[in-house]
């Protein structure tokens, strides 16, 4: 058994930023399924939001309002105020730590346009902003030398919560196949999102919701799981992200007829409408037969008028991705794109200091924290604005760190039944070897992904979601019959695949059921059978509680509104 004051699960921006806050004062460990520099924060491209007003007269006030409106009024406004107020300080801090940022002609941090933001607010490092920020924090881990213990390539299997007190985790060392208990006075989950349940997704293979499911199985409810963001510019068939910054720099979206169709959906913002609206507009164009290509199943991102110089300076990664993955030179040709599952608005409910809630009445799990994409605080509500996620990870990662610094010295190390916990994790693993092998885990995973993309995607309806519900129930049943074939100890990917699929099947059901119950359209959740927002009945957060039989119960809690009453959302 390993023992630390604090165990952080996840090594992206939120996890590393929290670790930085703690490392000089407490014994901190970071547990990551990959290596810190490979965390998915690094895949963010276009920018990180802060109302610096470097290139226009932006204000924090405007950032707050844009974020509330972007969330379709489901975001908790007290949390959004914290996020936006702390944004300039956060950017200055990252700049001081050495993050390379693109600059203006007068040597200031440059800022570009982004969807749903009413000013030029996105600070950026070409189109590799997440990469630049992540590597800046990875560099800090070297600065702190041996003080920060990093468990790279460990898969987290279980969160240990007993009597409302968090006691640590059980994790699998992928290099050896050994299960271990990591005991801690406090645990922070900064373990990322759950976009892998979709076929067309921009998410890394690692984003299988391991954190949220471990919390859920330990008795923590999950909030607003039905809200999954579809990014408008996924590379056709691959789902790979092409930054919204491409439109921020002036790129067009066109259909097969060459028509800039956004003029019919968001006439004032055009291509820079919020992501939910732009993705739906694309899907409508495709559904109504105006898609491009032999199957009319994609639309086009047109960058040609920007010219080679601007593309190479501001959007080099977009250029390379289109070139390397589908052989399109975006200087010469428009790029085939389609909506791609991108961001998980839902997750582990937590307060503004990242302390996790156990129920809808504000009861906390002692010593358990969540930050970044795995959390639902909720700053993004029903739809996140681009550039607010890197910001959220940094702002709330730091806040989690500060809060832990505050409370952990007062927390005792609660007792852990090491043998019992290891046995439980071992039994979960053995069950994956015990099936009769009549079902194939890859086939189940592909069917799940197709179900989610085609029936629980950009447009949803009761009938589709009911079908998805029974499909997933069938897949869960079939999952019992899979058999892990690899008996090896080290780098047993076959076993990890199965553990991940088990997580995906568990949370996919919550996305569907939350969506079925929510009979309205709000932000990224759009139902053709309930096409309008219904504030009377649905201005509230969903909470899914796991029941003893492996099912779940949906309960709700109110949205925090401080200054902005819900109003019609037009762009």
């Amino acid at each position: 058994m390993y023992s630390h004051d604090v165990v952080i699960v996840g090594s992206g921006l939120a996890g590393l930023r929290a670790a930085m806050e703690l490392v000089d004062h407490l014994d901190v460990a970071v547990v990551t399924k990959v290596y810190p520099s490979r965390s998915h924060s690094g895949a963010a491209q276009g920018g990180v939001a802060a109302a610096l007003g470097n290139v226009d007269d932006d204000t924090v006030e405007a950032h707050i309002y844009d974020t509330v409106k972007g969330s379709d009024f489901l975001g908790d406004q007290d949390a959004i105020e914290i996020l936006c107020n702390d944004a300039p300080r956060t950017i200055y801090e990252m700049e001081h730590l050495g993050c390379p940022f693109s600059r203006t002609a007068d040597n200031k941090l440059n800022q570009r346009a982004f969807g749903g933001h009413s000013y030029l607010r996105a600070c950026f490092s070409a189109d590799r902003t997440g990469h630049a920020l992540l590597h800046t924090l990875v560099e800090q881990t070297y600065k702190h030398g041996g003080k920060l213990r990093v468990y790279s390539e460990w898969h987290m299997n279980r969160l240990i919560v007993e009597d409302g007190v968090c006691r640590g985790i059980v994790a699998l060392d992928i290099k050896t196949g050994q299960l271990e208990v990591l005991r801690a006075r406090a645990v922070l989950f900064a373990s990322g999102g759950y976009g892998q349940a979709f076929k067309i997704t921009s998410n890394a293979a690692a984003n299988t919701g391991d954190g949220i499911v471990a919390a859920y199985r330990a008795g923590v409810p999950l909030q607003d799981m039905e809200f999954v963001q579809f990014h408008p510019t996924g590379l056709y068939e691959h789902g790979i992200l092409l930054t919204e910054g491409a439109r921020g720099e002036g790129g067009y979206l066109i259909n097969a007829e060459g028509d800039r169709f956004m003029s019919r959906y968001a006439p004032s913002k055009m291509e820079l409408g919020p992501r939910d609206i732009v993705s739906r507009s694309e899907q409508t164009e495709i559904n109504e037969g105006r898609g491009a290509g032999p199957h009319k199943d994609y639309v086009l991102l047109d960058l040609r008028h920007l010219g080679r110089a601007k593309i190479m300076e501001r959007l080099p990664q977009v250029y390379n991705l289109a070139k390397d993955f589908i052989g399109v030179d975006c200087v010469e040709e428009p790029v085939p794109i389609q909506p791609t599952a991108h961001y998980s608005m839902g997750g582990i409910p937590a307060d503004n200091d990242c302390q996790v809630y156990l129920d809808e009445n504000g009861t906390h799990v002692t010593g358990f924290f969540a930050a970044g994409e795995c959390s639902c605080i909720s700053v993004h509500g029903a739809n996140r604005l681009g550039t607010n996620s890197l910001l959220e990870a940094l702002v709330f990662g730091r806040r989690a760190g500060k809060k832990m610094l505050d409370v952990v010295p007062g927390l005792k190390q609660a007792g852990v039944d090491e043998e019992g916990e290891l046995l439980a994790a071992q039994q979960e693993i053995e069950a994956l070897y015990a099936g009769d092998g009549s079902e194939d885990l890859h086939a189940i995973r592909e069917e799940l992904k197709e179900t989610m993309t085609y029936q629980v995607g950009v447009y949803r309806c009761g009938e589709d979601m009911r079908q998805a519900q029974s499909a997933i129930a069938g897949l869960r049943e079939r999952f019992r019959k899979i058999q892990v074939k690899d008996r090896g100890g080290n780098f047993n990917l076959n076993l990890i695949d199965a553990l991940e699929l088990s997580n995906m099947l568990e949370y996919a059901e919550l996305i569907v059921d939350g969506g079925l119950a929510r009979e309205e359209s709000r932000g990224a959740h759009f139902r053709t059978d309930f096409p309008t927002r219904d504030d009377v009945h649905w201005l509230k957060h969903t909470l899914a509680f796991r029941t003893d039989d492996g099912g779940h119960e949906l309960r709700y809690k109110p949205v925090t509104i401080t200054r902005f009453e819900p109003e019609e959302r037009k762009y």
Binding site: Y92, H96, F101, Q140, Y142, N490, L493, N494
Partner: protein, 320 residues
Amino acid sequence: MAAHKLIFRIQRFDPAADREPRDQDFEVELPPGITILKALNKIRAEQDPTLALRYSCGSAICGSCAVKVNGHARLACKTQVSDCADNGVLRVGPIGNLEVLRDLVVDIDPFLESLGRVKPYLVAEDGAAPDHERHQSPEQFLKIDPSTTCILCAACYSDCNVLEVDHSFVGPASLAKAHRFIFDSRDTATFQRLGTISEQTGVWDCTHCGECSTRCPTETKPLERIEEIRTRAMADGFHDNAGARHALGFRETVGKRGLLDENYLPARSMGFGNLPGLLSLVPVGLRMLRRRKNPPLIPPSIDKADEIRKTFARFEELRK
């Protein structure tokens, strides 16, 4: 284009079962436009779930999936199968210069530890809780733009010819990391960085083979960064080290005689006053003698040495 059949010859190694790595052939039928990573995952799904590899983002930014394809390090996720399939066979193996843990997975810790040798973080005097941004010009940003694109995939480390024979070399990715701070207008440790990196195992130990830049899947291109560091170190007067002396000695002999004096250069590099250093050359010299690899004591005269001298002089003029 229809699907076509292909042999993937994959290097397998399971430390629990194998003494030596072995090759295993998988016949696969692949649709056009498929990447190496997708093909490997197809093999895992359809033929052999025990194949071990690393991958995550699938979009060439996380740096997890570097493998050797036909003997050279590539990112599996962004490499098209169709670009590598000669004669219907495609070879995949683990990247080099690192210990194989299983199949295509190597121990990357020595690589990550090597970065630690170049103080891989910004050193600056102003505080950590700032209330303002520091200024930097777009030109200053552009200087560090290439070296900050590094994704730590270790493709350069894998194919580095120096590391193959000398594990003490700090390596191309670490030098690119060092570059990123040496040329960052906000960093205040440039002088110390240049001093450290000019010493043995540092920037002068690179032999300019260029493999690192050829294999680099980003704009980092370590060799170019190494050259920029060397130029900067020389310009800032870091001449009192073997690498700089070697470069200066090279210039002296070619400038003076129009050819390389291979007897002069080692002694010049070591430093004529450096007795222990000079003595350390003796065994090397004896080994060369024994294998008849020693240069002639009196350098032979060559055609057109005069022209080389003149060309060299012209360059010197231009440089000034």
